[in-house]
């Protein structure tokens, strides 16, 4: 279960949306149409357990997400899920890493304050003694041209997902 976003967290005009999270039910999120630039030279790093629950975050993760470290540890990674991201992207991510392979893609993340940031994400299974014990995710500054491509692609994918739901 992931708590709904609180209007008190958000500054400026926002839109309220409801997203369905795999295994967690629905979450009400508040979205502000304002991008926060990815900081130069930083890597955003986190680790999760096998179910996607966050077990470690670095300082850059805390700063960019807007959440306190205590709010992030123990929370599902989908706390950052932006409603503009198609479900298929995350299905592909989970299918890939559960096979023990590395996933890479561009992701639009939702901050606690409703604003968003784009990242180039790479997720790797943590293999110890031949067994996957969790996942490490590393995000870096994306190429803006790739982001523009993804905006169009993800909008098409989401439109198709909405049609399929009808």
């Amino acid at each position: 279960m992931l708590a709904d976003m609180n209007p008190a967290w958000v500054t400026g005009d926002f839109q309220e949306k409801v997203i369905k999270l795999y295994g967690l039910g629905v979450r009400r999120v508040l979205v502000v149409d304002e991008e926060v630039p990815y900081p130069d030279g930083r890597l955003i790093v986190s680790r999760t357990d096998l179910t996607g629950v966050i077990t470690h975050v670095n300082r850059s993760f805390v700063e960019m997400s807007g959440y306190a470290e205590e709010e992030l540890i123990g929370a599902p990674h989908s706390i950052l899920r932006h409603p503009d991201m198609p479900k298929a992207a995350f299905r592909d991510l989970w299918d890939t890493i559960q096979r023990g392979q590395i996933w890479q893609g561009h992701v639009k993340n939702l901050r606690k304050d409703g604003r968003y940031y784009w990242v180039k994400a790479t997720v790797i299974p943590n293999v110890r003694c031949g067994r996957i014990i969790g996942y490490t995710s590393v995000r870096r500054k994306p190429d803006r041209r790739k982001v523009e491509e993804c905006k169009m692609l993800y909008a098409q994918m989401r439109a198709k997902e909405q049609l399929d739901c009808l």
Partner: protein
């Protein structure tokens, strides 16, 4: 038996004598013989590792993965307060003010230092630059990387941040930093091979106490840091996972 000790070839020449002094301390601390064999470049180092000739190494993070996963090495200690960060710089008179201003086809001066080069190329990604659309010039050291920028042979250079900061002031004043990494968790480590397995506890304990020895601080200063900190095995595994994510390229 004489054990072979080596240092990743990316160390600054100013610390050369310090590593020989450290090797002497090592022999006294463990009461056994170590021979310090310095490799001129990474190719020689990697050949020596492949041939199982190395027993103890001050390794860079990129080589740590190979040493732990394929050669059974154990990380003992890391230099305190020193992370491996990278600087992307151009000549001071360059029109580029940010990495995003660099065009495809740009000439990039780098070294064969694998982790620094890898992180440097990642810092160039926001400009859409990758190994297929830049012209790479490998220099023997970071002073020569700076020289290539100052002489106009390359437009952008990749430096180990520490090496960049140690360039002479006149050289640095002719360069402009576009971006400096702030990764915080990638560092060198002193690593022991399988033949030293029964000495790991004694060596780790001696390393951690070195800063408290009467001449310990002077010795550490000759290596460019203030102390050795113990490394947990999972900390190294985490760093290796991190390096694996950075090295991943689906097109490769």
């Amino acid at each position: 038996m004489t054990y072979i000790f080596t240092v990743s070839p990316d160390f600054s020449p100013e610390y050369l004598s310090g590593w020989f002094v450290f090797n002497t301390w090592l022999q006294k601390a463990l009461d056994c013989r170590f021979h310090l064999e310095l490799m001129e470049d990474f190719q020689r180092l990697h050949r020596a590792i492949a041939a199982d000739k190395i027993d103890l190494i001050y390794a860079n993070p990129y080589d740590a993965a190979l040493l732990v996963r394929e050669k059974g090495f154990t990380a003992l200690a890391k230099p305190q307060g020193i992370a491996d960060e990278v600087v992307i710089a151009v000549a001071a008179n360059s029109m580029a003010m940010a990495v995003e201003d660099l065009p495809p086809g740009v000439r990039v001066a780098s070294t064969d230092d694998p982790d620094v080069h890898l992180i440097g190329m990642i810092l160039l990604e926001p400009a859409g630059l990758h190994k297929e659309n830049v012209r790479l010039e490998i220099a023997g050291n970071y002073v020569l990387v700076a020289k290539k920028l100052l002489q106009g042979e390359c437009e952008v250079g990749i430096f180990l941040a520490r090496a960049f900061d140690e360039l002479s002031r006149p050289v640095r004043s002719q360069l402009k930093v576009l971006v400096r990494s702030d990764i915080q968790v990638i560092h060198h480590a002193l690593m022991a091979g399988p033949r030293l397995i029964d000495k790991i506890d004694a060596l780790t304990s001696a390393l951690v106490k070195l800063a408290q020895e009467p001449k310990g601080q002077a010795l550490l200063a000759q290596l460019g840091f203030t102390g050795w900190g113990k490394v947990a095995p999972e900390e190294v595994e985490f760093m290796i996972d991190l390096m694996d994510t950075l090295a991943y390229s689906p097109a490769a």
